[in-house]
Amino acid sequence: MNSVLQIRLQREYRSDSSFRSATVTAVDANYAKQSEFVLQTVATRRIRFVRLWFTDVQGFLKSVAISPAELETAFEEGMTFDGSSIDGYARLHEADMVARPDPTTFQILPWREQHGVARMFCDIYTPDGTPFDGDPRYVLRRNLRDAADLGYTFYVGPELEYFYFADAGPEPKVLDKGGYFDLTPLDIAQEYRRETIDHLERLGIPVEQSHHEVAPSQHEIGLRYDDALTVADNVMTYRLVVKEVALQHGIHATFMPKPLEDHDGSGFHLHLSLFDGENNAFYEEGSNGLSKLGGAFIAGLLHHAPALTAVTNQWVNSYKRLVEGFEAPIYGFWARNNQSALVRVPTTKRGKPSSTRVEYRSPDAAANPYLAFSVLLAAGLDGIRQNLDLPPEVGTNVFEMSSAERAELGIRRLPQTLSHALDELEQSILVRNALGEHVFDWFIRNKRVEWSRYQHHVSRFELETYLPIL
C-alpha cells in the first residue's frame, strides 16, 4: 500500500489505542477508495494529463503534469520533485519533496481547449513521510485541527475582487472607461464574468453572487462558504479560472491589491464562522444574534489584527489599498453597519441563525488564502481561549475622531506599510505558532528583501513632485 501515507499515519496516530488504529484503517481504506474513483474516472473520461497542484508560501499556484500511467504511483508513493526551486520550500540540506495528490480534489478542468485535463491538489511531504512545514496547505490543516480539538469546524465565505485590463503592460488600461470598447453597447466584461462563473460551477465551486465593482473595470465574484481548506483550494482555482478566461479573450485579469491610484483596490472580504456540529457557535438568541463566543472571536481578531496584517496584506502594494478615502478599512474596530470597520457583523436574514458570521475586511485578493485563514483562525481562537471581552461597537465616523478619541476607545490603526506590518508580525508569538517556524522565518526574510527593494526605488511621485522644485 501507500508507504508515505502509512508513515504519516504512524506518526500522527502514534498513541496506540484501538480507536486510533481503527481510524487509521478507515482513513487508509478511504484513500484507497478515493484513488480508485480517480483512476477509474481517468480511464473512462479519457484523461490525458493530470495536473498536480500545490501552493508556495507567497500563494503562487504550482503545477506538475503527469500522465495517467504515472497516477497510480503518485497515489501510492507520491511524486518526488525538487523543492529548492519553490519559493519558501528551499532548505539547503533537503531539496527533495514529495507531492501526494488529494483524491477528493480531483476535477476535470472545463476550459482546456482540448479535453482531457484534470487537476488534483497535493499535500507536500519530506522524503521520510513527515508533512512538510513549508506547505501552506499543511499549515492550514494544522490550524484547523486546533479548531477541531476544541470541537469547531471553521467555515469561510470569500468575496474576491479583481480588475480586467487590456494587457499586462505596466500602464493599466481599463476596459469600460477611456473608450477601449467604445463600440460595444453592453458591458463586455459581463460576458467574461459569466463564462468564469460557468467554469467555477462546473468545477464544483458554487458562486453566491457577482457584480461589477465600484471602480471601472473592477469585478467581484463571491463564493459560497465552505470549510476553510476547501475554500482555500477554491480561491486558488478561482484566481486561475479568472486569469484563464481573460487570457482566452486576449485581455489581462489581475488581483493586484491597488492597481489604480484613484479607485478602490481589490479586497478579499472573508466571512468567518465556527460551527459546533449543526450549530453556528456565533449565534445566540437575543443579544442581537451574536453569541459571547462570537464576541470573543472578534475580540481576538481585533487584538491580533496589526500582527497578522503582514499575512493578509503581504505586498508593498497592499498598503496602498489600506488608505483613507476608500472602502478598505484602516482602523481596527468592529460594527454592524459601518463599511469602514475592520470587522463587520452583517445583518442575517430573519430566522436564519445559521448565517450569523463575522466579516473580516482588510485582506486583499493577492493574499495566500491558506496562510490568511490560518492566522485569522488562530487569532479568533485565541480570543475564545482567553475569553476576551468584545470591545464596544463603533457606529460613528472614526476618520473624524481625534487620535486621542480613538486611543480612548482602544482603536488602533492597521500598519501603514509592509515594513510596519513586518515589525508587528515579528513580535507575535501567536502568528509564529500559527504559521510554524519555517514559514514564519522565510516569510519575514523574503518580505524584508521586498521592502528593501522598494525603498531603493525612486517613484514617479517623487520625480514629479521634487524634481521641478528641489
Binding site: T23, A26, V27, N30, K33, Q34, F37, V38, Q40, T41, T44, R45, R46, R48, P103, T104, T105, F106, Q107, I108, H115, G116, A148, T153, Y155, E201, R202, G204, P206, R224, Y225, D226, D227, T230, F275, D276, G277, E278, S354
Partner: protein, 215 residues
C-alpha cells in the same frame, strides 16, 4: 451475450463487417452522421462501432469529437494499414483488425459492454449514475463529480423519496471518521445541484429544519 444496443457507423457497413456481425449474433442499430452529432442519440447505446474503411482520417475526426462529449466506448474496425495511426489515439476504447473473426468480434463487444458496467446503473429521469465506472451523466452528457459528490448522489439515488437529516447523511455517506461538521452536507448538496443544472436542481429538496429529500 448481454442485451446491448450497439450503434454502427457508417450506416452502410462493408460486406465483411455485416457478415461478421450477422455471424456473431449481435444486434446493432445503424446510425447516420447526424445522429452521431447528438449526445442524446447515443446515450441509450452501450457501444459504438466505427469502421474506418476508406476514410480513416475523417472517421477518426468524428470519433474524437464524440469522445469529447460522450462516455460511450468506441470500438474501431481497422485494416492493418491503420494500426500505426491508432497507437496514440486515446479516443478509441479498443480496435479490431480485418480480416474479421465473428467470434473475436463477439468477444470484444462482450468485454467492452460488460466492462463498461452494463447493469450497475442507477437512474432518475435522464440522470444516470454508473456505479462500476463512477460516471454520472445527464441527458447523455457526462457530469464530472468529485468523490464525495458521487457518494452523496449514489446515496440519494439508492434511497429516493425519503427525508434525511444532515446528521444521518453525514453518518451514512461520509462515515464516522469525518470531522468536517454537518454544514458539509449543505455545501455538497449545493455543489450537486449546481452540477446537475438549474432545471434538475429541484430534484434535491430542502426540508426546512430537517434535511434533504431526493426525487
Amino acid at each position: 451475450m448481454k442485451t446491448a444496443v450497439i450503434a454502427l457507423y457508417p450506416p452502410e457497413p462493408s460486406a465483411h463487417l455485416e457478415e461478421a456481425i450477422a455471424l456473431s449474433g449481435v444486434s446493432v442499430d445503424l446510425v447516420g452522421e447526424e445522429e452521431l452529432e447528438k449526445v442524446e442519440a447515443l446515450s441509450p447505446m452501450s457501444l459504438l462501432i466505427i469502421e474506418l474503411g476508406d476514410q480513416p482520417l475523417r472517421r477518426l475526426r468524428i470519433l474524437r469529437r464524440i469522445a469529447e462529449d460522450s462516455m460511450i466506448p468506441i470500438l474501431v474496425v481497422a485494416v492493418p494499414d491503420h494500426i500505426a495511426a491508432l497507437e496514440s489515439e486515446r479516443a478509441i476504447t479498443d480496435f479490431i483488425v480485418e480480416p474479421l473473426s465473428p467470434s473475436e468480434l463477439r468477444t470484444r463487444i462482450g468485454r467492452l459492454v460488460s466492462e463498461r458496467g452494463g447493469g450497475d446503473v442507477l437512474a432518475h429521469r435522464d440522470l444516470q449514475l454508473n456505479t462500476a465506472t463512477y460516471q454520472a451523466s445527464v441527458a447523455g452528457s457526462p457530469v464530472d463529480l468529485t468523490y464525495m459528490e458521487y457518494e452523496l448522489l449514489r446515496f440519494f439515488l439508492e434511497n429516493p423519496g425519503r427525508v434525511w437529516s444532515r446528521e444521518q447523511l453525514l453518518a451514512k455517506v461520509w462515515g464516522y471518521e469525518y470531522f468536517g461538521g454537518a454544514r458539509t452536507v449543505d455545501v455538497h448538496v449545493r455543489r450537486l445541484r449546481s452540477k446537475l443544472g438549474e432545471e434538475r436542481s429541484a430534484w434535491i429538496t430542502t426540508i426546512r429544519s430537517v434535511g434533504y429529500r431526493f426525487g
